[in-house]
Amino acid sequence: MSNQKKRNFQIEAFKHRVVVDPKYAEKTWSILEHAIHEIYNHNASGLSFEELYRNAYNMVLHKFGEKLYSGLVATMTAHLKEISKSIEAAQGDLFLEELNRKWNDHNKALQMIRDILMYMDRTYIPNTHKTPVHELGLNLWRDNVIHSSKIQSRLLSMLLELVHRERTGEVIDRGLMRNIIKMLMDLGSSVYQEDFEKPFLEVSAEFYMGESQKFIECCDCGDYLKKADLRLNEEIERVTHYLDVKSEVKITNVVEKEMIANHMMRLVHMENSGLVNMLLDDKYEDLGRMYNLFRRVPNGLSTIRDVMTSHLREIGKQLVTDAEKLRDPVEFVQRLLDEKDKYDSIISQAFSNDKTFQNALNSSFEYFINLNNRSPEFISLYVDDKLRKGLKGVSEEDVEIILDKVMMLFRYLQEKDVFEKYYKQHLAKRLLSGKTVSDDAERSLIVKLKTECGYQFTSKLEGMFTDMKTSQDTMQGFYASHPELTDGPTLVVQVLTTGSWPTQPSITCNLPAEMSALCEKFRSYYLGTHTGRRLSWQTNMGTADIKATFGKGQKHELNVSTYQMCVLMLFNNADRLSYKEVEQATGIPASDLKRCLQSMACVKGKNVLRKEPMSKDIGEDDAFFVNDKFTSKFYKVKIGTVVAQKESEPEKQETRQRVEEDRKPQIEAAIVRIMKSRRVLDHNNIIAEVTKQLQSRFLANPTEIKKRIESLIERDFLERDNNDRKLYRYLA
């Protein structure tokens, strides 16, 4: 055929020009309608899929999609209305079963219908923006069954009834529940939420409000928390079994709010069973449960933390201000350590090592330890006790553990410089009396202090150790160069470098002739090898071992202080000596002499001297004799008193004064350092910077800092700015 001549004749490929028989559509539709009926009546087996598919295909092709679609809607709707009626007719518990069954049927039918109408689904429906078949089937189910007036509310109340029954302990058909709930989910999240979840949550809230009220009236805190925990887990389990997983967080929020958040304060402060009682009784399980439950609600953990903190501060405060407990410093510090251990345990076992709780614990300790300004002294005494005897026989690792615990208390101290002063005093006494249990332990603690506070803190302490060692070497050299002295009394000298050791006023007394000759020999030996140095004998710090024979021939070795030795040696040349004679001969200062005589004449078991009159105190008119009747079951008798003790009031005042005096140059040095680098700085910032710089040693008092600034102004180190009186300027 030529295209040019016959213009009207056009071949259009792929288009069937089939004559449209108006009745064609009717006929085809009724076939399909019939098929739908059969499908709903469970008679699908007799149908030919291929035939039905083709029919549907043709209808769409021939532009009868509209008729097909609307027919589908009508037919399905009619069926669903029927189904609805049969569900409504079901009695009691069978209602849900019937609903479930019919739903399954509907789904199967829908599947088949969709398969048949797939062409329409793929072409007509997208073009016309109509709802696809499957979704249509669900929507129709929703509108005609679920939202039918007779079914909607009945369905909901049945579901809620079942949940309630399960909550009260009955066993329900979970499979059925799951299917029904899944049906609602399949119908769309808004159906699930509106037709089930929202009312479910409301009802649950009421239920748990009631539960919690009931429990809180009759349970103690621990039991209540157990019950709450149980309920919470129950709800979580319910969700996994038959609810939408997204409901978990919503229902747990309800339980948390009703059972925990609403009663938080009442639980925590419950008399005899609340948080404080749990802490006191180390109820780890209950505390752990409380922690896990409270962490779920807003302010839960902070509530626990606050109550714990104020409780700790309270007992801590009582501990450090209770005069009874303060009588024995070592006991006192042990109590502090025990308390810390207790709470460390609680935090690790029950509060899962929560850092914020650790911080609260630390700040509480820091608060109350510093309430008592003798804490630094007491901690040093505790360490002294341990290093003197407490650590005897303890393994190396255990020693480290104890020292680390002490360091932890040390860190809490604000006045670390006070601790340093006491530690130095006590260390000196330990070293000089040779009474330290373990050199390694001493060294280990020094290293820890150095790590914590820097080299300056410990350099003098280390100097003390060095002196001890050097003295040993010096003694060896002395005796090596004086072999003739090996027969006489043995002299042991510790040469102390003045700056390193705690300052003592040097008092000399009159040594017995044998000793003073020996000491002189040592002095010339030492100065021979160390020119330019000065030696002064600290007779108030020495000890002596002397052999004594008493009236009945009993022999003892007496370990005494140097002062005591001087006094005793006098009795080699006299049977009776008056107080005044002793004082004159020895030259020992009065208060020391009295103490010295008292320890030898008035203490049972150590009374190597006899006093007339036999009073407790030493009077200036007393007379002294050797106690010939002295007995002791030990050969070696210790009479000297060089042990570190809690300071008396006046001593404490003196130490504190010295500490205050020492702080002044440190504050000034800090001010000068800061001003030198900053040149100009305002008042508040200087205070802040100085405090920060010094806080590793002590807490600087702003008033004291101000005084030092004024002193520096007076000495022309600083000046005030002329225009802004808040500013200070560094004068080079």
Partner: protein, 194 residues
């Protein structure tokens, strides 16, 4: 000029060549002014006199030339004008700090004892800040923290009088860089008032 010099020598001590305390006393009685009067201090300021109780020729010349006087009676008549000049705010600060330094009699002396300070305060600030001066003097006499007052504290008090509302002290902020003695004074005042 010659008259000024002659006037000087009429009061000066023959051997030292300066007007000494005795000479000043004579001058004062000639002017019919008490020698403890504040106007004498003002005169010293005008002269920029260095040493308390003494006027050198140079200082004398300086002062009288500035005041444009050459006789005792003219000098006396010039005093009210001098006082007005000193009390002008622009000059008073200078006068105030001068009066402190003028009282430092020893070399290297930096502070003045409490007793003298109380007198000086009364003299210099009494007319202007009667209440503050009286209360502060009372405080200084009973406190024991400070035995002397230095220039910084002296100047601080003047600032205090000018800036701080008295006696309520409501705008006093102890966190600012006021000298410590004033912090303590305010504390004492507040304790008294409650």
């Amino acid at each position: 000029m010659e008259r000024i010099d002659n006037l000087f020598y009429s009061f000066a001590n023959r051997s030292s060549g300066m007007i000494d305390p005795e000479g000043i006393e004579t001058l004062c009685s000639d002017m019919e002014v008490d020698h403890t009067d504040v106007r004498i201090l003002m005169l010293a300021w005008k002269m920029k006199a260095e040493k308390q109780g003494y006027f050198t020729l140079e200082e004398w010349r300086r002062g009288l030339k500035a005041l444009r006087v050459d006789t005792v009676s003219k000098l006396r008549k010039a005093l009210p004008e001098l006082e007005k000049e000193v009390r002008r705010p622009s000059n008073f600060v200078d006068f105030y700090s001068y009066s402190f330094c003028y009282c430092l009699t020893e070399e290297k002396q930096k502070s003045i004892d409490i007793e003298s300070i109380c007198q000086l305060l009364d003299l210099v600030l009494g007319s202007q800040f009667r209440a503050q001066v009286d209360y502060f003097i009372e405080y200084l006499k009973i406190q024991s923290d400070y035995k002397v007052i230095n220039l910084d504290q002296w100047m601080g008090f003047f600032r205090f009088c000018n800036e701080i509302s008295f006696p309520d002290l409501s705008n006093y902020d102890p966190d600012l860089a006021w000298p410590l003695v004033l912090d303590n004074f305010v504390e004492w005042m507040q304790a008294k008032q409650s």
